[in-house]
């Protein structure tokens, strides 16, 4: 924990209970009430996974750090828009940070830049799952047919448009779009079965 002089705003409410015991959802709700200690804990919980995602998408540590900063500023300012009944805090954060990364890629002209098939071949999620939730997602993704899964992995981890992906993979845009649709519907159904 950093010193009090580094707190985000001067109106920080005191938190009587140990926040490390709170769920990410509870922490995010406290952040919405401008609790900077909850923000610190939430940062500790989410930052490594989100930073990993930013580095994958942006392929540039400096830009990834900038987007991570933008994302957490957004979390601080817009945490009140989070609806716990709709999704988990982590899922909400991923949506926010991915959107920020895609906006940055667009601003840098990287969205439509050509990529070669070789570089996409190495783009894949790790096989070993780190938590029960990631285990469920990993198992659901494994049920998606290989070719459709590859499209989803490349799209998620690289943030490319379907035109660029079609070109890189040497297939028609129609085939790419149809594969993404099939894969995502399949993944949705598998996640539902897995209880997420």
């Amino acid at each position: 924990m950093e010193s009090a002089s580094h707190s985000c705003v001067s109106t920080t409410p005191k938190t009587p209970m140990a926040q490390t015991e709170l769920s990410e959802e509870e922490l995010l709700q406290r952040v919405a009430r401008k609790d900077s200690r909850a923000f610190d804990h939430l940062y500790e919980a989410l930052a490594p996974r989100l930073f990993g995602m930013m580095r994958q998408m942006l392929n540039d540590d400096r830009v990834a750090e900038e987007v991570l900063t933008e994302g957490f500023v957004h979390v601080w300012e817009q945490a009140s828009s989070y609806d716990e009944s709709r999704c988990k805090a982590f899922v909400w954060a991923v949506t926010v940070f991915r959107q920020k990364a895609i906006e940055r890629m667009r601003a840098l002209g990287r969205r439509n830049r050509r990529v070669d098939a070789q570089s996409l071949e190495q783009v894949t999620f790790p096989a070993d799952a780190a938590s029960p939730d990631s285990e469920t997602v990993s198992a659901a993704l494994a049920t998606v047919p290989k070719e459709d899964r590859r499209l989803i992995e490349c799209a998620f981890l690289k943030g490319l448009t379907h035109h660029v992906m079609s070109e890189a993979l040497g297939q028609t845009p129609e085939a790419t779009k149809a594969g993404v649709r099939r894969g995502m519907m399949h993944l949705r159904d598998s996640l539902k079965k897995g209880g997420l």
Binding site: E2, S7, C8, V9, T11, Y43, A47, P48, R49, L50, F51, G52, M53, R55, Q56, E65, L68, T69, F72, V73, W76, E77, C87, F90, V91, W92, V94, T95, R98, Q99, I102, F125, P126, A129, A130, S131, D133, S134, V137, L141, I152, A155, F156, G159, T161, H162, M165, P173, E174, K177, A178, V180, R181, G183, M184, M185, L187, R188, L191, L196
Partner: protein, 307 residues
């Protein structure tokens, strides 16, 4: 739901749409609840994939940089506290102020009493208390009383000021509640108007190679026989020809013209249109290539159609 809409929602969830495609999806989602729900659902499905990313520890000073950034933007956010929160805050502040004032008064009184007693004890061994001395000892007691009276006065005036402020904030809360109620009422009325409009969203596609990337989205209001359309990536029509929109009513033997489409050099068009004849509620749309200026009865090749 048609596969084309599912496709757009799936691509959007993974951030794969071009800006123009995203606009078409957003437009269609506004009037198509099923599409809107699927879109939201697939966005969450895609976000779940974030759990599979390999975590990477950010630089050690990252949190400090984020805090600095937040602080540099913090002023305006502090002002955006809701009236309710403000009222709650002032309530607490008043309670805290009352408690602190009570404690302070109690301690002040105890301290003065102690001083008074000490002085009395210090004087006692030297001289016997006399009427004169006792008279001299009275002023501190009077001072204490006056001091307490003054503090009580200050406290009462602070309490009055806080009560006035709380009253003003309560009034603002009542005004805000009235405004919210009015907005809810307006939203309900708008919802009813939308329901009465009988809106139908159609997406037209083509099986012809040259038109494979072309897409047309139509929002059709069956209650008024009129609609709005967005057309994109349409090849340039050959000289002396025009694209013409047709409305297919199963109750009519021939398609009814929806007018000639003015497609710009980029292959896009955005316009509103009306049916030239009354048509039923369950209609479909097609686009054909016709003679320049359009024809009253469809003759040319159909290039886009609603699946």
């Amino acid at each position: 739901m048609d596969p084309r809409s599912e496709e757009l929602a799936a691509l959007n969830a993974l951030g794969m749409l071009e800006s123009d495609e995203k606009r078409v999806l957003d437009g269609s989602s506004l009037v198509d609840r099923e599409l809107r729900d699927l879109n939201a659902e697939l966005e969450l499905v895609a976000a779940e994939l974030g759990r599979l990313v390999v975590p990477v520890e950010p630089p050690a000073d990252m949190k400090r940089r984020i805090r600095a950034k937040i602080r540099s933007r913090g002023g305006s956010k502090l002002r955006s506290i809701s009236p309710l929160a403000l009222i709650a805050g002032v309530g607490w502040a008043a309670a805290v102020a009352l408690a602190l004032a009570s404690i302070w008064l109690w301690r002040e009184r105890a301290s003065l009493n102690q001083q008074f007693n000490s002085l009395r004890e210090a004087i006692a061994p030297v001289t016997q208390p006399t009427a004169e001395k006792e008279e001299k000892e009275k002023p501190p007691a009077r001072n204490l009383e006056e001091e307490l009276k003054k503090l009580r006065g200050d406290f009462e005036s602070q309490k009055t000021a806080l009560n006035t402020e709380i009253e003003a904030l309560r009034k603002r809360e009542a005004d805000a509640n009235a405004k919210v109620a009015q907005l809810v009422q307006e939203a309900q009325a708008q919802k009813e108007r939308d329901a009465a409009m009988k809106l139908h969203v159609a997406t037209l596609q083509s099986e012809i190679w040259e038109y494979r990337r072309s897409v047309m989205t139509i929002v059709w209001d069956a209650s008024k026989d009129q609609g709005a359309l967005m057309l994109d990536k349409m090849p340039r029509v050959e000289s002396g020809r025009d694209y013409q929109l047709w409305i297919i009513d199963p109750q009519k033997p021939d398609p009814v013209s929806g007018g000639v489409l003015a497609v710009d050099d980029k292959g896009t068009a955005k316009t509103t249109f009306k049916s030239t004849e009354d048509v039923g509620d369950a209609v479909k749309f097609i686009v054909s290539v016709e003679k320049k200026g359009g024809v009253p009865k469809k003759e040319g090749e159909v290039v886009l159609k609603e699946p």
